[in-house]
Amino acid sequence: MTTLAQPIERAHDVIREDLLRPLRGASPLYLAVVGICVLIVAWAGYAWYHQLVTGIGVAGIRRPVYWGFYIVNFVFWIGISHAGTLISAILRLTDAGWRKPVTRAAEAITVFALMIGGLFPIIHLGRAWLFYWLIPYPNERLLWPNFRSPLLWDMTAIFGYVTGSVLYLYLPLIPDLAQASAHTQGWRRKLYRLLSLNWKGSDREWHALELAMKSMAVVILAVAVSVHSVVAFDFSMSIAPMWHSTIFAPYFVAGAIFSGIAALVLAMAAIRRFLHLENYLRPMHFDNLSKLLLLMSLVWLYFTAAEHLTTWYGNEPLENAVLNNRVKGAHAPFFWTMIVCNFVVPFILLGIRRLRTIRTAVICGVTVLIGMWLERFLIVVGTLSYPALAAAWGDYAPSWVELSITAGTFAAMVLLYLLFVKLFPIIAIWEYEHEAEG
């Protein structure tokens, strides 16, 4: 018995050491990237301060394009947040073995993307300091928010999603925090012990945790689908041409999962490369995610084709104005770039088995993120530029404020992720121990 247990114990030690190593120290490259990100985020913070003090007019939005980059970014980041839920919840529920090194990286993306995305509806308000008026809090004037408004559904959904995804990230962290506490010193030891809620690893604790994780996986899956449906409702509940579409909810959910997987591929490639976790994040994981990305690319193409074909065939003047601008007017370069980024590139690079490598997966991750950002731009700005009365048509260009805040959110994502990998093991250690014991 003891002779058999010996190598397993050692394997544990190696895995634990491998996965806790990234927490220690910081390379000059790491510090440099953190520094650059902090600068960009600080600049974006200044831009927002400037907007709050001077007025929302410092942004480029104007009549009739009342929603611009802020809402584009909002939809984009909420979309990215779908990485964690799909990969993690579906793979956990189906008990797919290859999920082990992937889930936490995905769940962290969800939490950070939601924190960033959730800020945009506030940044975009004319009077951002009054955002809490959307919350149904008790007040002496008995004023309630308007539950008929999709924006209120949106806020409710995103609050719920943030809460759920933080819990969903935290639960599987608990056993790892206990381990990390045992193998670190100083303030980290105290922090990890506090966060691990004094986890001992008893059978009762494991049963409770398994039950909680399984339940949260089911809940978070439902919440994730509903959240991006509600984001789609912000557009489809209106009567604006090419927003008022019945397929918007599933179209947005599919697009969100698509861009979420793209973000996950990029994050995993970076973790593999810079944290030297090549033994854990193996080509097989990228291959599986590439296939998922390819699948979602085809689903996305199907929705996009259905949407545009129906509009084109319907030949309604109001919708035609939007459609023509999109496929052959001022927005055509964006539209066709989107088609190339979201379909042509992934279809070739990931569809042909010989070309499907970690490198091409990363390339596709980048193009899909660009393509999906453009999709949201085309939907938000494209429709608003062409209201029903032709006399009110207009265009839009972002100002430096919108560009700065947009850049700031990408830097914030990188920054939060960098801090996270230094504070918490990015790959779940205990999942490997379970494997060894099983």
Binding site: G57, R63, G126, F131, W133, N146, M237, A240, L384
Partner: protein, 243 residues
Amino acid sequence: MPETATTNEHQAGAEHTPRWGMAIDLDRCTGCEACVIACHAENNIPLSDEASSAMGRANHWIRIDRYYEGEFPNIKVKYRPVLCQQCDDAPCEPVCPVYATYQNAEGLNVQVYNRCVGTRYCANNCPYTVRFFNWFDPVWPEPLELQLNPDVSIRPGGVMEKCTFCIQKIQRGKLDAKEEGRPLADGDVQPACVQSCPAEAMVFGDLSDHESKVSQWAENGRAGRLLEELGARPRVFYLERAK
């Protein structure tokens, strides 16, 4: 006693809730834009400079849309004054998350400036694009701030605004009638645009009163409503000859 009579008459008047509406005869409109100027003066609408106008930030609660028919030199211009259509099923109302816009008892789509947080969703969902946003706190070049109408509030930056059918003039009309001890008569209330139209192309009044001028115009064979097919049930009627 006269005082009692006044009270009774006023109460009798109060039982009747008007449904305000407007009719605009496009065959009479010359596109002179006097209504636009009058509206600006009456409603303390901020001015915009050349750059912000070019950018699309000029706020005119009423505007003249121009549509051209034919090719130069045989060109015909059609003018259409467009203002808030005060819809009975207004698409702007349900989408506001804080109830900053709603339909009041007299059918007006009112905007509550103090409640507005500036999501601008209402403006996106208005098919007529007649909602305007205050991009900044308003400033008037000296001495124009001295001509501001004391009956109309100044809107701060970050809130939506739009045509109110000159609700302050409706209020004034009601108060005057009450003071004189008579019910509000047709034509007592004249929004600034209607009052200033040199071609007399616009009438305003109570659509629930079939004798009123606006009802008669609205029932005219030439009358129709803008984007009627969207089902917002606007209460501004446009009269024009069928082609």
